[in-house]
Symmetry: C2
Subunit: 326 residues, 2 copies
């Protein structure tokens, strides 16, 4: 099924069920008002949400209305955890190669992850507000999962069983603030503004056989100022699958329901597939020409991130944002 | 006023108001059932909670019961943000000095902070469960504040106005896992298990004139296996006050209600005041003797963290935990 959160002026919005074709929606009132509630009590609530979804798809839901992504908050407008991986090692290799550095051997066996801010996500069509263009504004197109409870010490396979929903994410980065923050060793703060998520979060069955081995085997499309810049395959080159990322977090602590775990920038070795963040394009230019020629984003720039299934249908709706001054 | 969260089998527990002397408590039912609710709507709810607090202190609350810290979850059992600083630069200086490294000049003007996991906090008397004693189990006695909404770009002074509550924290660290995680640059995951907080969170007025300049001017007591090892003054040596820490986070994003911001290990230049984490003791030993002689914590070890006002009354109740195997 597909779930979204509609803006209603409150911090957590209103949970809605969205039809498979993203055409209609229905408030989940009577089952749960917020997505976190459903995640907290998934075994009880998800069958009820599924019933409503089935009725909606059959055109039998009584108070259905046209679905409008503009009305969406992030499916979880705020969450108890946002842990983002850097699971496509090609992305790391590119960045390192551009500055003539080696990738440490451990990076191929030990996932690189950072703990992100999760108190203030933005909706799929909300502006990306950045204090200054000089900060090096970049998009990052990613896949993210939402978990149920996963116990401390869970194996990657056990962790896979804890995945409840899948979304797309735009993990905006302020590239010029990153080197100083990374040098401190404590991770990101100022270089990672609020993350945006796709209009809907979907259950794994919606992916059909595109969900294999803890990975989504479909292309992630990134369109910058109306020009398609990325058609990156999210599947085979994901070095660490989502179960491995979740198990990494769960090694010394419990992971609780509603945790969001991201894949990091989707990245392919074949440059013809384009890029899911501008930094990669600049790395390729640096490797080829000695210096980057593509500039980062400016106020007024747009970024659209979407994923379609093999039949060409949008699975999550599109993240479609404009960069804006405060 | 003083607020706590009682265990009731649910994820968020039940909000209770606790008397100033920590002797009695009263469910806040009818006002708010969860602390996050009160923080989400503080201007409306806090006067009602204050009324109940006044009645409780006057012995006029009808359904008061004896307060039992054992029944407490963390005041916020899960939160939308846990951002921990390292605001006592002496702690950083000691760690660096022990390994013959300089403190970068920027560390005196730019706060060192990390984003922590906030989906699974533990209560003040809950066991600290760690997969292995070999991980280098350490306590870290800290002060933490809970914020309301603080807008992107807020100044340190504006950020101070956003502070709603103060607590104590035990930010347990697994020391032997830290070097490898810091080397990756992306911050902590496995080296930071679930953080514990004091039985009660208190409003700033409870601190009286001990709250000055965004700092708590009182001694933080740490007692390890029944032996008092730290009586560290939390006030004058806090290099960055809480407003500065919050403003650091708010530079490129909004900070939303219920965010928890920690001070980092409270640390004094005068070694006679003891230590708020074992790592510091080991640094001092390394500086004096060339190597550390104090071992990290073992299963069964206890740690008690408490802060008293000038009249000798416990302000937050005590964090009182035992290290345990899974």
């Amino acid at each position: 099924m597909k779930l979204a959160t509609y803006k209603d002026g409150s911090r957590d919005g209103q949970l809605v069920v969205v039809s498979r074709d993203l055409g209609t929606a229905h408030y989940a009132t009577g089952i749960a008002s917020r997505l976190q509630q459903a995640l907290d009590d998934w075994n009880f609530m998800s069958p009820q949400l599924q019933d409503l979804y089935d009725q909606l798809n059959a055109g039998r839901a009584r108070h259905a209305f046209p679905f409008d992504p503009q009305q969406c908050m992030a499916p979880l407008p705020r969450a108890y955890q946002w842990a983002d991986g850097s699971a496509y090692i090609n992305h790391v290799e590119l960045v390192r190669k551009a500055r003539n550095a080696e990738v440490p051997a451990s990076f191929y066996t030990d996932p690189l992850m950072y703990q992100g801010g999760s108190d203030d996500f933005i909706g799929p069509c909300d502006d990306v507000v950045v204090p200054s263009e000089a900060m090096g504004i970049d998009f990052e197109a990613e896949i993210a999962v939402v978990t149920g409870d996963v116990k401390m010490g869970a194996s990657p396979e056990q962790a896979l069983d804890g995945i409840r929903l899948v979304m797309l994410a735009n993990d905006v980065s302020l590239r010029h603030l990153i080197p100083a923050e990374l040098a401190k060793g404590f991770g990101f703060f100022q270089s990672k503004p609020a993350t945006a998520f796709s209009p809907v979060a979907i259950t794994l069955d919606e992916l059909g056989d595109a969900w294999q081995g803890g990975r989504v085997h479909l292309a992630l499309q990134s369109t910058w100022n109306g020009r398609k810049v990325g058609m990156c395959d999210a599947g085979p080159e994901m070095t660490f699958h989502f179960g491995q990322l979740i198990a990494h977090i769960a090694k010394t602590r419990n992971v609780r329901a509603g945790s969001i775990v991201g894949s990091g920038t989707v990245s392919n070795k074949d440059w013809a597939k384009g890029y899911s963040c501008i930094a990669e394009k600049r790395c390729i230019e640096t490797i080829q020409d000695g210096k980057p020629s593509t500039e980062f984003m400016k106020y007024g720039d747009t970024i659209r991130i979407e994923m379609k299934n093999k039949a060409g249908q949008s699975l999550f709706g599109a993240i479609d944002q404009t960069i804006a001054a405060p």
